[in-house]
Homo-oligomer: 438 residues x 4
């Protein structure tokens, strides 16, 4: 059966097409800077938003009309697998991502829960084999169930820590089974509601212990996925420990975990933390930990995680600009649509429209970013801007030869200091020109 | 002459006093937890706001009526020194803090600038000797002059880097001369306006080079002050590199600077970064880098650094709660009023009222925090909350004996997981009770 | 049976009590400015948060442990009524508030839904008669059900508008039946997600038509409750039409509805709109539309409606300061705890602790505000500050005699303009002194 | 002499041009929807930012390198006039805007200040006659001078009110003399720092009195400019009375001023108030008060008025979408660049680049918006979305025939309620397609 109607595969028709069920910019086999769009972008569909989500919000119950909602329990879980692979096929998307609890219901006991999960993982594995689709990453949902009310690895309850460990152990095994390229840690409730009842030091120490155990266990079972931390500053807790990229880096440094982790940067989490998406990507990139991205966008006037499908071309362009300059591009990571259709976009076809919108936006961003790089449209300006560090006193600073004595002596010559304009307004014009012309 | 009128020293009169020129809570020699209030709080007046600031804002020129404004140039600089020591005496405050450019005007050349500075530092030194007042910290202003338009240590112009180095070299020398207990690095324009014209990696590398040079030079001249980084997320630049405590920690770790620096945490900078003041203090404390504080408060509905005098007793209480639990309390640091009277509070006496307001608020906060700690009003709840990590599986987790195998085995026993309420509402009641009764 | 354990009625024990199950400040029969605390505050419990809410959030299912959850359907609805009256009794609270859908489940048809509602309203009426408890206000929930996905009175679907009308008609009838003192319109989904698909003019016109119909129908059935609009700027929709008090006033003016409505001001909605609670109360007060309040507080660092129990004594003091100066005080309105226990405070007793916290905080706020007013601690300063409008040119301005000619002639005399300090810092000290001493 | 170098007039070269000193999208004589771009956009240069501003910020002094800074006093004022007309000529911009204090320095007395102003107004008038350039609007700066520390029309000091009246009287006369098409009231310090020392009712009453006097005087002297209020929520004061469009409307309604005023909507003020630019324009439009716009943009991650030149094509498109649908388009108003070059863009040529960036962005926005309207790309969807109000029960609602009785009867038929998707994601795709293809 079909969950999305008889619409056929979405094809590339070019920017002039007004067919809502066609790509205008995403042309998967078009080669850009030596790789196809498909290879650059490695799109993934997020199981939780697109197949498990119901369209509820804090003030209303679910609105989503979904064919699979005729089922319940394990039948529902199986139907969702089918729906997922149907959508992947329709959209020509190669990857998907899931939390354990997205794909299978909990049972009465952990054993039963695991059996449910095993069964669905097996079904997913079969469909992967049949279709060639791949698992970008999996993860464990340790925030929905009431047992995690005080956190998982940062809980105040040792029994919960143990349960979380069992859950991640299983998730690592399933990741290995399905050949996941990455494994993600998003700290759902790893944070606090109030400092007044919180032992932050113990909680962070425990979080680090948990991470080390996960690293050890993955090595033990030979699961060589890239491990990713996904920063978020707040929500659901008042303060989340993995606030932003810099905070995650401090944590990784502090606990000797830096060699084992990269970051999964999400656009909406970046803006909630007071940063642009591209800022977080740059921080990750220059620290060698840009691993993957969660592609979405927030509403800058709303203070919660809206997880909208990404359509802002400035954001997709600047994101791809960072990714293209990252060594190896997006590498083993990908562009995962951690995005949900608005509650008012409740028809199944909206899922298709929304992914087309997101894929086209990233495809356009890729193209614009590639042209900027090819033309060195910004790079030549930047290079000239910092030229004073290529020779003379600047070179001595960079090489480590200078010290406060030599620099003071230089300054006391009272050579006139001449700065040049940063040209922000001109640069913004250039960006607009590339956006429209690329 | 007197710059503040014939008002006499401000004395402690107790909470029932309605004398606006008396302390109601700050009783300097009252002993709390084994130390006097004076020793706990180590108050400092900030030279820039109280003696150099003019009461201007982006939409208006200065409004401040100040006796010293009858002078100009070096005469003005000298008058400000006198005013500072008069206020310290009036308020019975032991410490003050300054930027180099607050205390003396720039000259035509760096040599002349340094001569101006030397003269005023000498005058300050004399007054210190005469009065026993002390320098909590000094620092270099590397953001006001147009030469720093693109930053100082993170400039794109090597000549500016050299100038900044010369300036900090001099500041370290003056710090040593005056016996400063700390030296502060606030990254005025160390940040960016747009990533599009910025080589963030080079800028951060240079910032670290600058810091290492400063550490080396201080050691060379035997200046043993505590070095402090003061985080701020934005303003004046769109993004400041020392965004918050965690970001500063990541930087210190990354560049091998952690052994040499602690943090100076400012309340208003914390809230601009999306954190509470107490959060930033906690992060600093548990990482062993809580060095000093800039006492002020922001307006939570305004998005810029308002630097108001601290009067929120919740904030002062929770700040002192962290400081009292810090090893050695505030240590060599202090409580520096990096706060300015509102532009509409332009009379000299407002400076007195404002400091009384701030000092009383911190004194009350100290007293409330001390009572909370003495009674273990929160601690006993926290201890019980995490008790599961004291024995059994919890103790194995903390001691490093547990791993994913043992934890999974434990979880598969399906022992019912019982969480207990976090009691946030009750805790808030307790806090209010202490606030009013302490 | 008891839903809250065998704890007995909560009694006033005074500020020194450390009994968590006692009031420290709320002394219902204590007379302040000529009325008892009970009369001033008119506390109400909010049915939705305290009896219908489950402790879920966007990332997790309900955590609340509640005795009534052993029931389902109409039995559950009945049990909640019993629980509500038990809590009112325990807390000695006189009022409660509800939405229609809080108290009874929807049926298959509107007829069945109404029958369910009738039955529960009857049960509530009986308990009211038996206990003397009163209905502060009721309202209609027109945001949870998927039919309201595009709004209720501002929907794009006329059938939904009709349904909403039927629902409010019934709610008005029930309000009359139970003797509700007020009827509230909170515009749940009356707003938009994107302007691009929205006819804002038609939606606002329809909203006004709806309000006029409600006014007409209430008059027709002789329901003389005070009608209240409750502003909120955002959430659940991206933009809510009743953004804040001023926006609601513009709407009421524009559509000739001002004579028929007052406002219900909520603290957390105020701060989400970028205002303080007291600002919204002041705007309502000076426009003669301060009707009632929803007592809670937000987290100023979080961008969503957290609906915390009010414990900030500054906020409760300044709120009561406005209410005491309102003609008739809170009048037919009251102090409704539109607040929910944190998801981590999931035990029934937390509901008791939370209400005690809120009631004590408002009681203390009342007392402090009353003392400020009795002593004219702020008023005498304000009166003097504006004294120039009592005589001379100021009196001419206020009386309407002045015009640009006379004012220019006055200004051209070049009389020196002398402003006086606004004394904000001193005023904040005074406020702290009253907070602690009152 | 030339203040901008020998660069020649900026010409339209089309979107493929990479000449930084050419328009890529602004083609003044191109006809769109029956009017030229020039007629649609009515661009204006803002005197204060471009000729009076110095490039200072709260942490640094001015950086701007400007040829006219060789002069002082009235010579400087005259040089700025020349520079202004040179830039208008270079950019082919027809309009400019100023505050009184931008164009001429204050003297010792109001008489001398007025003489300075008269002289510069005369010079401006001559240049207008010589060049055909026009004054879009003028206004009075009542916020920079310390006398306005507590406000102008909302001051607590009647002498200041009188001074402000004299200042606006003069400004109205100058507006008439120069044939200004509009006169703007931006409430610089019309607001409060703290409610605790503020008589909000008196201040608002006085503000209304002031507005009525201005209306009367303009009528008296036959100055028929359009009067505009420019809303802003905060900065410089903590709360500004003209918070946003809705608040201004409530004020105008309340004081009988609505017939005399329209609004000047600024993009950055909109976002500071928690709204999109297009929201504020829509509110103004459907209330018949969309008068003019201040074209700029804010940084959504910064909480102050950054006044950047507008380059976000989404914003310019949606702004022009509202303006094109406004009756008479922008009418007597215009697109005024209330924008300043970044402090780091301190060379004179940056003023040219910045205006080109802004003009091109609005030209592109105009074109995209016009195409959306011509194709009814969004309108046809909106029309269909609300079709249920065209007939049947919907038509009865709109026509006023329906009431709660008829609507309840309709609802009780239990006709299934069918909503349709709002299609936000598809609409965003359509917008992107038009943005790139128009």
């Amino acid at each position: 059966m079909s969950y999305f109607g008889n619409i056929g595969k979405i094809r590339y028709e070019g920017r002039e097409s007004d067919n809502p069920l066609a790509f205008k910019f995403y042309n998967p086999d078009e080669v850009i800077l030596g790789k196809t769009m498909r290879e650059h972008l490695r799109f993934a569909v997020a199981y939780w938003h697109s197949f498990t989500g119901e369209g509820n919000d804090p003030f209303g119950v679910g609105t989503n009309i979904r064919g699979w909602n005729q089922y319940t329990g394990m039948d529902l879980a199986k139907a969702r697998v089918d729906a997922c692979f149907e959508l992947l096929d329709l959209l020509d998307v190669d990857y998907f991502c899931f939390h354990d609890r997205d794909i299978a219901p909990e049972g009465e006991t952990l054993q039963e829960t695991n059996r449910n999960l095993d069964a669905i993982v097996a079904r997913i594995g079969e469909q992967m084999k049949a279709t060639g689709k791949k698992l970008l990453w999996n993860t464990a949902n340790m925030f929905t169930n009431p047992r995690f009310v005080h956190g998982a690895a940062t809980t105040c309850n040792a029994d919960v820590f143990a349960y979380a460990a069992a859950q991640v152990k299983k998730a690592l095994e399933h990741g290995k089974e399905l050949g996941a390229e990455n494994y993600v840690f998003w700290g759902g409730r790893e944070g606090y509601e109030t400092l007044l009842n919180t032992d932050m030091k113990l909680e962070l120490d425990n979080l680090a212990r948990f991470m080390h155990m996960a690293v050890d266990y993955a090595r033990e079972i030979g699961f060589d996925a890239q491990f990713l931390i996904e920063p978020k500053p707040k929500e659901p807790t008042k303060h989340q420990y993995d606030f932003d990229a810099a905070t995650a880096l401090a944590f990784l440094h502090n606990y000797g975990l830096k060699p084992h982790f990269k970051l999964n940067i999400e656009a909406n989490h970046a803006t909630l933390a007071g940063h642009t998406f591209e800022h977080e990507l740059r921080v990750a990139r220059i620290n060698g930990v840009l691993g993957s991205i969660d592609a979405n966008q927030g509403d800058m006037l709303l203070g919660w995680d809206t997880d909208e499908f990404p359509t802002d071309l400035y954001s997709t362009t600047l994101a791809m600009y960072e990714i293209l300059q990252n060594e190896g591009g997006i590498g083993r990571g990908g562009v995962n649509f951690d995005a949900k259709v608005r509650r008012a976009s409740f028809e199944p076809i909206d899922l298709v429209y929304a992914h087309i919108a997101g894929m086209d936006s990233f495809a356009r961003g890729l193209k614009v970013a590639a042209r900027l790089i090819e033309d060195r449209a910004l790079e030549s300006f930047v290079e000239k801007r910092y030229a004073s560090f290529q020779s003379g006193i600047g070179a001595e600073i960079v090489s480590g030869k200078a010290n406060f004595h030599t620099l003071e002596a230089y300054a006391l010559q009272n050579k006139p200091i001449v700065n040049e304009s940063g040209r922000l307004e001109l640069i913004k014009s250039v960006l607009n020109r590339y956006l429209l012309n690329a």
